[in-house]
C-alpha cells in the first residue's frame, strides 16, 4: 500500500532539546518514555521535571508500545488545511500501557465499531519528513 501520509505537507513536531530522544527513537522504530527515578511513575509528554513529584531525575526507558483507546473522532473538516487532502481520517486519545495518555492518529478501518478500551499497538509511519507513532 502506498503511504498516503508521506507526501502531506503538514506541520511536524516542534522538537525541543528535552523531547529529542523520543523523536530520535521513533525514527529508529523504538518507543521510549521517561520514567521517574524518584516516584517510579512514567511520564508523557517529555518534560524536564516529573509532573507527579517534581523530581528532575527522569530517565528514558523502553516502553511497550501497547495502549487502550480512550476516545476517537473521524475528522471531515481538518483543523489545519494541509490535513484536508486525506479526510476523512481518524484521530484518538490512547492510554499507554505504562499509564500516561497521548494523542495519536488511528490506523483503523471501521470507526463505527470502536469501543472505549480497545487494545492498540504502535505503528511507525512517515508523515511528510518525520516518523510519527500512529496506533492501530
Amino acid at each position: 500500500m502506498m503511504n498516503k501520509y508521506a507526501d502531506l505537507t503538514v506541520p511536524g513536531p516542534t522538537i525541543t532539546p528535552i523531547s529529542k530522544p523520543f523523536w530520535d527513537a521513533i525514527e529508529q522504530g523504538e518507543f521510549i518514555l521517561q520514567h521517574c527515578k524518584d516516584c517510579q511513575k512514567w511520564v508523557f509528554y517529555p518534560r524536564s521535571h516529573c509532573p507527579h513529584c517534581w523530581s528532575n531525575q527522569l530517565e528514558w526507558k523502553q516502553a511497550s508500545g501497547k495502549a487502550q483507546l480512550k476516545t476517537w473522532s473521524t475528522v471531515h473538516r481538518a483543523g489545519h488545511p494541509a490535513w484536508q487532502a486525506i479526510t476523512p481520517y481518524i484521530v484518538g486519545v490512547v492510554e499507554l500501557e505504562e499509564g500516561p495518555s497521548m494523542m495519536t492518529h488511528l490506523l483503523v478501518d471501521a470507526p463505527n465499531q470502536l469501543k472505549i478500551g480497545d487494545p492498540l499497538n504502535v505503528h511507525y509511519v512517515q508523515c511528510n519528513d518525520t516518523w510519527l507513532p500512529f496506533f492501530g
Binding site: 506541520p11 513536531p13 473522532s73 471531515h76 473538516r77 481538518a78 483543523g79 494523542m103 470507526p111
Partner: protein, 388 residues
C-alpha cells in the same frame, strides 16, 4: 439560603458590539475602544474615572504588552492592569478579578474588555512552540473542533447519550436567538432535525452544534460602591466566584467526561450561599452543544450522563422553567473569540436589571454564569445578583 455580605463593588455598565460575520476594515484595538466607550456611556461615568483595566490576549495583533497598548490607545493610565488568559473563561475570570482588585484598594473602577476582528480567509493562527503543538497537532488533531469531538465521543460511548439529545441544545439556542435581533442567527431557527442534517464537521459534532466565528466585542464596568454616584441602572453584583484549571491539551485531560466546572460551579454557589435551584437564569458557556451538557451535569442539576433525560422534561426559553442562554447563547448569537464568553455576562446583567427587551424573564434575581476555555480545562463560574 444564606446570603453573604453585600460586596463592596458592583457591575454598573455594559457595552456590546453586534456580532458581524466579517469585520473588514476594522482593528481589534478599534473594537476594544468602541466596546469600552459603550460600557462607560451605559454606566453614566466619565472616561477618566476608569483606573483599572483587564484585557485578554490578542493573537495576531498585540502578542505582548497588551495592557500598555490598550491603555495608550484609549488614553487611560490605569493603576491596576492585567491580561486574563483563560480562553472562553476569560470574561467570567475578569469579573471576580476586578472585584478583588477593588477590594484590595488598588483601584476604584475597572473596565473588563474583550474584542476581536474576524477577517475572511485569514484565520488567526497562534505561533505556538509548546507541548500541544509538538504532541497533538502533528497527528492531525489541531483545532478546537477535534478536541471537543473527542470529548463528545467519550460522553456518548460512556453514557449512551444520543445525537438527538445534543441537537436539542442547539435547537434551544437557535430558538432563543429569535428573541434577540442582535444575534447572528436571528431569523434562522433550527429544528432538531435541521441540526442532525447539518454536515458532520468532526464526528460526532455537526455544523449547527459548533459556534459561528464572528467579529465583535464586549466590555463591563465594575466600580466600588462609594464610586457609584450616577445610578443609571440597578447595580448587579458578583455574589460568588469559582475557578479551576486542570490541563491544556485534550490528550492530557484528567477526566474526559467532566470538566473543572465540577469544582468552579459549587465553589461559586457556595460563596453566594445558594443551591443551583435558587438560580433564575442559566447563562452557560456554549462553544459546543456538548459543553452545555457537561456543564449541566457538573452543576449537579442532573446526575452525570443524564442531561438528555433531564432536558426532555424542561423548557429553556425566557418563559420556561429553566431559562438558559436567553440571548441565544454563543450557538445562536455568534462567538467573537474571547468576547463570546462575555456575552453570557452581558445577557445576565440585562436580565438582572430587568432590561431584556422582548425576552425578560420573570423574577430575575440570580444568574449562574460559566466560562470554559481550551479543552474543558479552564473553568470559571460566577453567581450574579440583581437588586430585584
Amino acid at each position: 439560603m444564606t446570603k453573604r455580605n453585600v460586596p463592596a463593588s458592583a457591575i454598573v455598565g455594559i457595552g456590546e458590539l453586534k456580532p458581524a460575520r466579517y469585520t473588514e476594515g476594522k482593528t481589534t484595538l478599534g473594537m476594544i475602544a468602541e466596546s469600552v466607550r459603550l460600557a462607560v456611556q451605559d454606566a453614566g461615568i466619565e472616561k477618566d474615572q476608569v483606573d483599572g483595566l483587564l484585557v485578554g490576549p490578542q493573537v495576531g495583533e498585540t502578542p505582548q504588552h497588551v495592557p500598555a497598548t490598550v491603555s495608550e490607545y484609549l488614553g487611560l493610565e490605569p493603576k491596576m492592569s492585567n491580561v486574563v488568559d483563560l480562553g472562553g473563561a476569560t470574561g467570567a475570570g475578569m469579573l471576580w478579578r476586578a472585584q478583588a482588585a477593588i477590594d484590595a484598594g488598588m483601584c476604584e473602577t475597572v473596565v473588563c474588555v474583550l474584542a476581536n476582528i474576524n477577517e475572511k480567509g485569514n484565520p488567526l493562527r497562534s505561533p505556538n512552540r509548546n507541548p500541544i503543538r509538538e504532541f497533538d497537532v502533528p497527528f492531525g488533531a489541531s483545532g478546537a473542533n477535534t478536541s471537543y469531538a473527542l470529548l463528545k465521543q467519550r460522553h456518548m460511548a460512556e453514557y449512551g447519550s444520543t445525537q438527538e439529545q445534543f441537537a436539542l441544545i442547539a435547537h434551544w439556542a437557535r430558538k432563543n436567538a429569535q428573541k434577540n435581533p442582535e444575534a447572528i442567527f436571528y431569523g434562522k431557527p433550527a429544528t432538531v432535525a435541521d441540526v442532525l442534517e447539518s454536515p458532520l464537521i468532526v464526528d460526532p459534532l455537526h455544523l449547527y452544534e459548533i459556534v459561528m466565528p464572528v467579529g465583535g466585542g464586549a466590555a463591563v464596568i465594575v466600580t466600588s460602591n462609594k464610586a457609584i454616584i450616577n445610578k443609571k441602572h440597578a447595580p448587579v453584583r458578583v455574589l460568588g466566584a469559582g475557578e479551576k484549571v486542570t490541563h491544556r491539551a485534550v490528550s492530557q485531560a484528567p477526566d474526559l467526561k467532566s470538566a473543572p466546572l465540577s469544582y468552579a460551579i459549587p465553589q461559586a454557589l457556595g460563596q453566594a450561599g445558594f443551591k443551583v435551584h435558587d438560580i433564575n437564569l442559566l447563562s452557560l458557556y456554549d462553544c459546543y452543544t456538548s459543553v452545555v451538557a457537561t456543564t449541566i451535569e457538573n452543576a449537579g442539576i442532573c446526575p452525570p450522563g443524564k442531561f438528555g433525560d433531564w432536558m426532555k422534561n424542561h423548557s429553556f426559553g425566557h418563559d420556561g422553567d429553566w431559562p438558559l442562554n436567553t440571548h441565544g447563547g454563543q450557538l445562536g448569537f455568534g462567538q467573537a473569540d474571547l468576547a463570546g464568553g462575555m456575552s453570557h455576562i452581558i445577557e445576565a446583567v440585562r436580565q438582572l436589571r430587568n432590561e431584556a427587551d422582548g425576552r425578560q424573564i420573570k423574577d430575575a434575581k440570580y444568574s449562574l454564569i460559566t466560562g470554559n476555555g481550551a479543552t474543558l480545562s479552564e473553568a470559571t463560574a460566577l453567581v450574579l445578583g440583581g437588586e430585584g
